[in-house]
Homo-oligomer: 246 residues x 2
Amino acid sequence: MDAHAAEDPKGFEKVFAFLREQLLDGTLKPGDRLIAERELAVQLGVSRPIVREALRALHMLGIVEIRDRIGTIVKRPDISMLKDFFALALAQQADLIDDVMEARIAIECQAIRLACERAMIADFERLQRALVRIGATIDEAEAGSLADYDFHRAIVLASRSQTLAVLHDSMSTLLARSHRSRRELVQMFGSMKTYLIEDHRRVFDAIVARDPDRAEVTLRRHFAIGDEYRRRAALGDGDRGEPTTG
Amino acid sequence: MDAHAAEDPKGFEKVFAFLREQLLDGTLKPGDRLIAERELAVQLGVSRPIVREALRALHMLGIVEIRDRIGTIVKRPDISMLKDFFALALAQQADLIDDVMEARIAIECQAIRLACERAMIADFERLQRALVRIGATIDEAEAGSLADYDFHRAIVLASRSQTLAVLHDSMSTLLARSHRSRRELVQMFGSMKTYLIEDHRRVFDAIVARDPDRAEVTLRRHFAIGDEYRRRAALGDGDRGEPTTG
DNA sequence: TCATCGTATTGGTCTGACCAGAACAAAAAA
DNA sequence: TTTTTTGTTCTGGTCAGACCAATACGATGA
């Protein structure tokens, strides 16, 4: 069986194209279980490992869910796949920290605006809890860092935007380690404790007030001040009180 | 054989995690050629097909390039692979558009702020060119849409942020389709021509003035108005002049 | 020195096999 | 009849070993 009755595409590409076709034209819809690997292999005249490569590829794209001993089913595309992508992709850029931080600010500033419109009771509660924990863990680097993360995460979740949430989560993962080290600044600057607590409070208040403009401005200022602290730390300066944003 | 000396992840996950690790901590940098499939299989105690699945996965994520008979090399992440994802995702979940649009707005608003600080001559020129083309192609759906895209793209490029650029490009791809259709509104609303030209001009001016606040506000308003036009079109309304942002 | 040739190496693919759990239907028990 | 049990079958998950084709590179010959 030479069987190159089939034309151009070869191996993997053939299978992938075959499936993509059906996914694009609606032959395969979310919830559908597609034919078994073995049969697919036979139908397309390729080996099973090749079929599996294609299925794995679709899985990485979040298009398909491979359930052990059940089958491969089409699922509603989920951007959460971007998590792996961004984590890896952004890790390749040397000076990414600042770069990624800018993107994170972008995400959060948009999120907080949407949060002002869409936040529900549960969101306020989550923000409130995080706020309390920020105060309670102000002297602990690890727990404090986590509380801080949770607060910002809560903002994004309150935006009710899946895309923003995924992007934010991806970047947070990437920034996690620099966050931890940055968090040690708290030990250096006494005034930073006040800043951390008060500033988050102000952000929270703005959201509760459902004032997008104020919320965004406050959040931007929050980031700017944090950045200023970090800059000072880099210069080895001691504590000189709260920095002011230019 | 037993061989689960390590009971951690199994098969694919093991290989993928192994590579991801090295990619994240910098052991593997763009340009590096990673060990051959066969040896990788031996080292991790898995079969080659499994290794290939993992490599294919990384390839789908645009992290790695598999060169026939040469080897697998780490490349600078390329979002172009995400086009597959976007195409498929959109084909099955059209309601993603609004969600992604929000994220795009987030990116651009941050980008335009940075652009105000960092834009250089070349950036202004690119913006200028796009602006001219927007005016020149106002009656052409296809070319007009492209000019519009280029203008917004130019904003992001002027921010000099690679991360923002990558995110923006990813989402633009996804939105390209809806953009085109939305663009057909131009034929419907006479006033929209004015809006398209004037509004982009205002945005441009704000960047040239290097006024971040004004630039962001103008851009947000730009999106809001466009959204309003789209809403009207959905309602089948005729042209009633320029909409005002609430 | 330069051109040619081989061989080891690499990705690309195939075949056929085994495992373990899920599905489902037939058979046995209540 | 209803319930339980028991298989057989199907599925994905994995493996082993093999062949092909083209490349890289050193050895060989001109």
